[in-house]
Symmetry: C2
Subunit: 411 residues, 2 copies
């Protein structure tokens, strides 16, 4: 039985508890062992909550319980998170954290302490929320001299800039909208002034280039001054505006900066919209790479933390063994699935094309061919329609990828 | 000293040797040990090559040398790669491979054999070339029930489709162009008929969903039939056309498919152009993620393989310790760097604006404000120009991200 303590039961800490509950069978299989939350450290009142019985207010209960092997630090801030993390590590417990402020200021020290005590200090969730970036950068790309890291690492500011771009809204309105939707805090300064991005950039620079970078030494500009006119001028020239954290290395050292940048619409990071994050890494062997996903939120952040818990348990590593014999019917035939579809036919006979035109959400005519955009249907349903049309000459038939709709008909 | 044998000294195998040579200091630091290529297994003649002295033709030399701890399999094909991999594993050597055909057919068996023998069988390079995807999927996202995997996993076909889209070229011309540039093989059928994508999709499905999927059981359609008209009709409706490998799970089983799809221009994968690959993974906790980079080529593929060699050596794992004290001058000030810049000024006085207009690569006028797109220059250089203009009212000044140009002036 793997026993975990969660420090701080807010959005992130409760997300970790939820994954351990909801994906229990999966985790037991991955860990070859049961996993349970033994303690929750929080000073608030959780009367009535299913886990209320596990809440403690005194850290030493966790520190002194040898059954707790992993401590999840989701408190935020430097104090007392730093003190508790240090004590947990010295009590031979691995610590998993999402605390970018703490990692950017004291990561090196806590890593060293963890090494000394034969445990782990892991912080995948501190940068990019649920996006795997810390381990890909430090392990998978370990054969590379990294030349630069460039990321959209703050969902709040990216949401605001995307709103300004899509609706022509002024900064203040987009900020209010983000606050109303819970994407920005009441005091949004850490996000919109670039401080949050800066902490994450420093953590990535530490890993990529080997020296701890103090966020206070980094040029850091926010997005308060960006106007709709900036965005429309940029768009006219083929750019969008993104708050980037960027650090580049040359032979002498590194140049880190956090600032809004005009970014070419052809750059892969320009497709990172709304609350999503994207982090680009360039290595001397791998070239350009990019990692994309939800940079914040309860479940994505907790996903990264539970991944780190599994890592901390030092389960015989990836990739997991897969089984040879799948159950009967495991692989379904796509012919049972409904797909939206682009169908181009020859001929201009009005009577026959009417059938398709009535089904289609859109049609494009050109010369003697017409392309129809048909809604999701199975091969069989399509065949029924096509049979109604005599002498139909189908020139082209291509499925449309519709993430929400593409589901097996009877699934 | 970590001694490695490379089987197959073609594009990929020689890339591995090159990284071990070029990034030697880096690797020694990561491994806390020297690493060297002891043998190269290849039947071709490498007379004159710097590593010619290490070439052997008999696999048993490698098999029977206890000093070799990691074998890099870059032979391709099932035979004799399968036989040699099995024998190497049984001789207690970890095997690192880029061989998608072998992994998709015999991965399960070789993983099991590796587990039995206390060594590793690793294949990060078999999917997505240099892109970290196998380990992120199996480790970082281990807390998730995966619901779908969707990828552009073949650079050849993506290059062809991108060419058709950008130049309106017919398929045959785009294929010839890809062949001329070395992006497509003389016999391109494994790529353009989707077979390569299918093998990679099956490997990802194996890891994500836990059962081995035989590529022969997957619906697999290629891109031979795609015409410029398909692409222009799709574009008119807001889509591009991409060869996707897609697999989705529901409660009963999985539905895998490889086929060209119309993909919305708002989807993050639509930004994956040319020879690049992008692989999207959706998990029940993390939501949508995407991994992007070079899906093929000597250095990127070798980057993934050397990452696996490091993993096989079971170095105390990520993240690497970073140092506290950086050398003097390590962090450079961005004011020393040249940036291209968007600068908007008020006023319409022709004489003053002429100075900026002469520098600018582009200008956008609107009302009494003009936005200038200036080429890369340092803050100091910009100040010199601005001083030439009396009573200038700068409304906005935003850097432009230009990956190629943004380099320290004296770097």
């Amino acid at each position: 039985m793997i026993q975990v303590a969660i420090m701080g039961f807010g959005v992130v800490g409760s997300g970790v508890a939820k994954i351990i509950e909801e994906n229990q069978a999966l985790l037991a299989a991955r860990l070859s062992d049961e996993i349970t939350v033994k303690y929750i450290l929080d000073i608030r009142d959780f009367t009535g909550h299913a886990l209320a019985g596990r809440v403690v207010r005194d850290f030493s209960v966790i520190e002194n319980d040898p059954e707790v092997s992993v401590v999840v630090e989701a408190m935020g801030g430097v104090h007392p998170a730093y003190d508790y993390s240090l004590k947990a590590i010295r009590a031979k417990k691995s610590v998993v954290t999402s605390n970018k402020e703490l990692v950017s200021l004291h990561g090196r020290e806590l890593l060293e302490e963890a090494k000394k005590n034969g445990v782990r200090y892991l912080f995948e969730a501190s940068v990019g929320g649920g996006i795997p970036i810390i381990r890909p950068l430090s392990d998978c790309l370990a054969a590379n001299e990294i030349s630069s890291v460039t990321g959209i690492m703050n969902g709040t500011t990216n949401y605001i800039l995307t709103q300004m771009e899509e609706n022509g809204a002024p900064f203040a309105d987009a900020l209010s909208d983000a606050q109303a939707r819970g994407f920005a805090e009441r005091d949004p300064s850490a996000d919109i002034d670039g401080k949050d991005t800066c902490r994450k950039l420093c953590i990535l620079a530490d890993i990529a280039f080997g020296y701890q970078v103090n966020p206070d030494l980094v040029t850091c500009e926010g997005i308060r001054a960006i106007s709709p006119r900036d965005i429309s001028d940029a768009a006219e020239a083929g750019y969008c505006i993104k708050l980037l954290g960027h650090v580049r290395r040359d032979s002498e050292g590194i140049t880190p900066i956090v600032a809004p940048f005009l970014l070419s619409r052809t750059h892969i990071l320009s497709g990172v919209s709304g609350v999503f994050n994207g982090i680009g890494v360039v290595g001397n062997m791998v070239g350009e790479t990019m990692f994309y996903g939800h940079g914040a939120g309860s479940a994505p952040t907790a996903s990264a933390m539970v991944g780190d818990i599994i890592e901390a348990c030092e389960v015989p590593s990836s990739p997991v063994l897969w089984k040879e014999k799948a159950p009967e019917g495991y692989i379904k035939d796509v012919s049972e699935c409904a797909f939206a579809r682009y169908l181009r036919v020859k001929g201009t006979r009005a009577d026959s094309l009417t059938v398709l035109a009535e089904c289609a959400v859109r049609a494009v005519s050109n010369g003697d061919e017409t392309g129809f955009f048909l809604p999701a249907m199975t091969d069989e349903e399509l065949a029924v329609i096509l049979k109604m049309i005599p002498e139909l000459d189908v020139v082209s038939s291509i499925r449309i990828f519709t993430p929400g709709e593409f589901v097996p008909k009877n699934g």
